[in-house]
């Protein structure tokens, strides 16, 4: 997208304010969104995101400038402003770039932009008509098909010049059920770092049916009782518990400035010995996978916690400087407008020793959280919350009536000690994770687990 010699010139200017490192990130992204409502295509929008982010470091001080003006003059102006903000502008050290190509481990068979629009609209219609057909009380099915075709180039003053193209596809269906007095909703929104071939893996009719099924369960559900109790959390998006309760506290974003309850705990037992947790950006075609992170570092598989013992943090380049530890390929950003920071990729609790049926059978009175919503955490204190989208009361080891409106709250460092049973049906769920470098796709995952005691918010 930008000539190599121009990259070299921009980097040299960016260094000229006394920086010891400079980086240019150039992006060209095509975002497509098709929306269906009331059984017809409601709108189609597409958007080109195009711009450049220039960063300079001196020690752990950073300057970041971004612009959507990608003309040579616009880039030079941005680089000059970065240099001026860093310090007195002198002679910029010259930079010689060597292009490096990393292997593509996420091949795409059907790039969304190349497919006829009618193919995409038909997929969405199939999903939403399946939702409506599920029950007469499904009064609305809304669907979105989201496609992202993202090309980046990264050049830095260490001589790296590299590029990557990343495609991802997601369908999100929400169903509304009403019996005239109550109105409840259900949703299903799978996605992958793949093209339209993803719908051979997830059948659109199954996506619609699942959203409708969940809405109908909630329509017939009673309010969840409140209190402390054991909770079995199902596989897949249930893994959001680890993401919120522990994952964010292992990011260099908070660890590197001493604002995480996980600081200084490498090698220590921080979780129940049944818990092994992994962040892996290399899983082919996964939602949170990329070939290289947003600083040009190849992604990798990082074992964060092994049998309860803390083994690794997730570290970006700035975090690496702050912490004196190598980068782990976790630098991510939503777009060129954001300075990258350490973020999760595909983060999950690995399979454990317990049989799933034993986990439910072990609960005398508690909650079975079959489907989870999102949540949030304060990494400093570890206090977190997340929502239960579909839940059931467990009595005497049996799953009983459906309950709605539940949330789970607790403290991260305590809860990961309290994960005392880990099952064997590891699966993942897709989310968009928000933090200081914007919204990025992340997978969460786990097998069925039991938390021995947690506060269930209900009424």
């Amino acid at each position: 997208m930008i000539e190599k010699r121009l990259y070299e010139q921009i980097l040299s200017i960016a260094l000229s304010g006394g920086a010891d490192f400079a980086e240019v990130y150039c992006e060209y992204t095509h975002n497509g969104r098709i929306s269906l409502l009331n059984e017809r295509i409601e709108s189609i929008t597409d958007e080109v995101v195009s711009g450049v982010g220039i960063r300079a470091f001196r020690g752990t001080s950073t300057v970041y400038g971004s612009t959507s003006d990608t003309t040579p003059l616009g880039l030079i102006k941005c680089a000059r402003s970065v240099a001026a903000a860093m310090g007195e502008v002198g002679e910029g050290q010259s930079v010689v770039l060597t292009e490096r190509i990393f292997p593509n481990i996420h091949p795409v068979r059907i790039a969304p932009a190349s497919a006829e629009t009618s193919i995409k609209t038909d997929l969405l219609k199939l999903a939403c008509s399946s939702a409506k057909a599920y029950d007469k009380r499904i009064i609305q099915a809304a669907g979105n098909l989201l496609t992202v075709d993202h090309t980046i180039e990264i050049a830095n003053s260490e001589g790296l010049l590299t590029s990557d193209r990343h495609i991802r596809t997601r369908m999100a269906v929400s169903a509304i059920a009403s019996d005239g007095t109550e109105t409840q909703s259900g949703s299903c929104s799978p996605g992958r770092g793949m093209g339209l071939e993803v719908f051979e893996m997830f059948k659109p009719e199954d996506i619609g049916t699942e959203a409708a099924r969940q809405a109908m369960v909630n329509l017939g559900a009673v309010y969840c009782p409140a209190g402390q109790m054991p909770v079995a959390i199902e596989s897949g998006f249930g893994g959001v518990i680890f993401h919120e309760a522990c994952g964010h506290s292992l990011e260099a974003t908070s660890v590197g400035i001493g604002c995480s309850e996980m600081c200084g705990k490498l090698g220590q037992k921080v979780a129940n010995e049944k818990v092994t947790a992994i962040d892996d950006g290399t899983i082919p075609g996964a939602w949170g996978s990329v070939n290289i992170d947003d600083e040009g570092h190849p992604t990798q598989r990082n074992v964060l916690i092994e049998n309860g013992v803390l083994r690794s943090y997730m570290i970006d380049r700035l975090g690496s400087r702050r912490m004196g530890m190598p980068s782990t390929g976790n630098a991510r950003r939503q777009s060129y407008a954001y300075e990258p920071t350490s973020r999760m990729t595909n983060t999950f609790i690995d399979n454990g020793p317990d049989r799933n049926e034993d986990i439910i059978a072990s609960i005398e009175y508690g909650l079975y959280a079959k489907s989870m919503g999102g949540g949030s955490v304060n990494p400093l204190t570890g206090d977190f919350n997340f929502a239960v989208n579909e839940g059931y009361i467990v009595r005497n080891g049996k799953i009983c009536e459906a309950v709605r409106g539940a949330s789970l709250i607790g403290n991260g460092s305590k809860i990961i000690q309290d994960i005392d049973m880990v099952g064997q049906n590891l699966a993942t769920g897709q989310g968009m994770c928000g933090s200081s470098s914007g919204s990025v796709p992340t997978d969460v995952g786990q097998p069925l687990i039991r938390v021995s005691n947690i506060t269930v918010g209900g009424r």
């Binding site: 409502l37 009331n38 017809r40 295509i41 409601e42 709108s43 189609i44 929008t45 597409d46 958007e47 080109v48 995101v49 195009s50 001080s61 950073t62 300057v63 970041y64 400038g65 971004s66 612009t67 959507s68 003006d69 903000a85 860093m86 629009t117 009064i139 609305q140 809304a142 509304i176 009403s178 109550e182 109105t183 409840q184 909703s185 909630n218 309010y223 409140a226 209190g227 402390q228 400035i257 001493g258 604002c259 407008a337 300075e339 999102g374 949540g375 304060n378 400093l380 204190t381 206090d383 919350n385 929502a387 409106g405 949330s407 709250i409 607790g410 506060t455 918010g457 209900g458 009424r459």
Partner: protein
Amino acid sequence: MNFDLLKNALVKALLEEGLTEYEIYYMSDESVSVATLNKEVNSFSSSESGGLCLRVLVDGKMGYASTELMSESEMAELPRRAKSNAEATEKPDTVGIYAGSDSYEELKIKKVELLSAADLKDYAIKTGEALFAKDPAVKEGTSSQAICAGTTVRLVNSHGVDLSLDCGINALIGEAVVGVGDENQQDYSFKILTGDETVTEVVDEAVSEALARIGAGSVDSGKYNVVISGNQMRSLLSVFSSAFSAKAVIDGMSRLKGKEGEKIASEIVTITDDPQREGNAVGTTFDAEGVATHRKAVVEAGVLKTFLHNRETALAMGKETTANASKAGYSSPIGIRPYSFAIEPGDKSQDELFAMAGDGIYITEINGLHAGANPVSGDFSLQSAGFLIKDGKKAEAVKGFTVAGNFFELMKSISSLGNKLERGVTTGFTGFCSPDVLVPGMSIAGK
């Protein structure tokens, strides 16, 4: 390229495609921020971006295409993309591109002059130092940030409408980390920056609120009289405000469907929507379709007076538009959003509200609104923190509990309103405001 050059290139390409009914919506943003960590400047960032969204009417359907790439070749390409998107859309467009309002209000909220990078740096350093000087418990990880942000909008269409808006804010954030014994807590304060007095206000608020969290106890599960702080009630209102959108009503996604003219809230509740609320930092005089905006009561003395409309929903429901057409981002389709949406304040001081609550809980923090609140059903169950109210007075800090309920039931059970309107800092055109509210008998899940 400047806007007029782009527009000329685009109009030429539109005519070549035979497209005569169109709208060009251009939005550009600029921002600068300087941050300190542990009193030292550790980060400086600046950004400039601009995007253009083209809407065209093709055979009675609306097509959109957007780009940040401001080149002549991209402008030549955009009409073809928008046309192809219109052709694959199935929903007929009933209102087309807007011909323009007879008159527009005068813009009462003038754009502030954005601070220079040097001034921002001074404010960030002053704030960082003042945070540490405020209390010996303030520790490593404490940060400050001074920001300026400006937005320019230009809306030009084939009916000769040509509107523009220029707005901006300067703001200051202080985030205090405090440690007492083994316990660390943090809190922040985010305010519009008007001078050195803002530094004092931000520092006082961030440090005192972080310290107030230290040693928080737990609460027993049960029903409590609850005072929800204005800032937290504002957040709840923002999540459930979609129920007031006529589009949500038409699409079966609002529990307020069919309730116009009915009592939906306690009679002390009045909700207004004001594009130029006095005291706000940003405001507008036209909506995302170019319709002249105005203040209106949405709920008056508990009765639902109107939904929020754009031209399409107004036509579908036989009403006048309330000029609430909005775009979530420059490239988004036309939707509906309020401007400054406020529960109007009442007449009670905070102490009077605590006295009326007797024994209860004052909620000053609610988390996880994006997940634990369902805008369609109104149900919520949310991680909270705050203070006990004992014998009508604010007492010790508590945390680790949830507050649960249903927003539509909550609106009916508000029994008293505070006299101070809390408003958030927003760089966009939508913001929410509320006073403290007293709600009897809310469900709390604690130990």
